[in-house]
């Protein structure tokens, strides 16, 4: 799975995700990626999100929208919201994966409960990073 989230000069956030699914999946199986709110979500009032991992668990927890809602209504920080969904909701069910998040302030967050996630960011401030492992 691959994904991207961006915020432009006007402050508008967009999120996208694309995937082949999971090896050996049953034909006709659809994961979280194309389900808005599960694997992909964007809202200028909170953040943009793209997920990767075992899709069924991201669907059952409506993961991307859940993160956004925890920020919007429970006033969690993006870091806290990601941890809550990945480690307290998806993890206990047996789900594995990661999430990238870009908030309305242009700050970037990521987290994963798998052993790694290919990831990177680039900001107009000049900061940039590419990471793969824990």
């Amino acid at each position: 799975t691959v994904g991207a989230v961006a915020i432009d000069k006007s402050g508008n956030i967009a999120a996208g995700t694309s995937t082949g699914g999971m090896t050996n999946k049953k034909y006709g199986r659809i994961g979280d990626v194309p389900i808005i709110g599960a694997g992909t979500y964007a809202n200028n009032l909170t953040c943009g999100i793209s997920c990767t991992g075992t899709g069924e668990y991201f669907m059952r927890t409506v993961a991307a929208h859940e993160v956004s809602s925890l920020i919007k209504y429970k006033k969690l920080s993006p870091k806290e919201a990601l941890h809550e969904v990945l480690f307290n909701q998806i993890g206990p069910l047996g789900g594995e994966g990661g999430i990238i998040l870009l908030d309305k302030n242009g700050d970037i967050f990521w987290d994963f409960n798998s052993t790694g996630m290919f990831r990177g960011f680039k900001k107009s401030s000049g900061e940039t990073k590419v990471e793969m492992f824990e």
């Binding site: 999120a15 992909t40 200028n44």
Partner: protein, 181 residues
């Protein structure tokens, strides 16, 4: 006027010791290329939707990632790809599911969002509309990669579905360490 882009290229059994230096360099280089593609659009004043699309296109065109050219195989030995895109300003969204003739599924998701009244189209219907709007179609053989096929053969017939990147691991025992959806 600040702007930014963040990307991911999948998660799973990714540990440094499972990848050769050459493989690590290849991933890092392609991730940087994807970041640069999206960033260039934002830098020129382009919109975030276009930046997201450009970054994902780079990864879809690479056999390294489980999307587009590098998509994994299902239990029948075919590829079925999904993609979605969402605009945080309007809450408009578009998605496609179960397609295997659209070279870049993220473009089809954008087309569904911009040019239809729907949010998600699947399979044949998604491909018919994508073709109608001039999105590049390819024969399903375009998505063939030997490593992904070998990855399927390792577990075909078993009730297992490993996460991304297992095909590129030096060792295969990680397959048994996973939780399976």
């Amino acid at each position: 006027n600040s702007f930014a882009i963040v990307i991911h290229g999948g998660a799973g059994g990714i540990k440094r010791e499972y990848f050769t230096q050459e493989q690590q360099d290849a991933y890092a280089e392609k991730l940087q290329e994807a970041l640069d593609a999206g960033y260039a659009i934002l830098e020129k004043g382009g919109i975030s939707l276009d930046a997201v699309q450009a970054a994902i296109n780079v990864m879809e065109d690479s056999p390294l990632f489980n999307a587009g050219k590098g998509a994994v195989y299902n239990s029948e030995g075919n590829q079925e790809m999904d993609a979605a895109i969402m605009d945080g300003k309007t809450l408009n969204a578009g998605a496609v599911a179960g397609v295997n003739h659209i070279k870049n599924p993220i473009l089809a998701a954008r087309m569904v969002m911009d040019s239809s009244e729907h949010v998600m189209l699947s399979g044949k219907g998604a491909e018919i509309l994508a073709k109608k709007f001039g999105i590049e179609m390819v024969d399903s053989s375009y998505f063939f990669t030997e490593k992904r096929l070998n990855q399927l053969r390792e577990i075909q017939g078993k009730e297992k579905t490993p996460l991304d990147h297992t095909a590129y691991l030096i060792k295969n025992e990680l397959i048994d360490d996973h939780k399976f959806g």
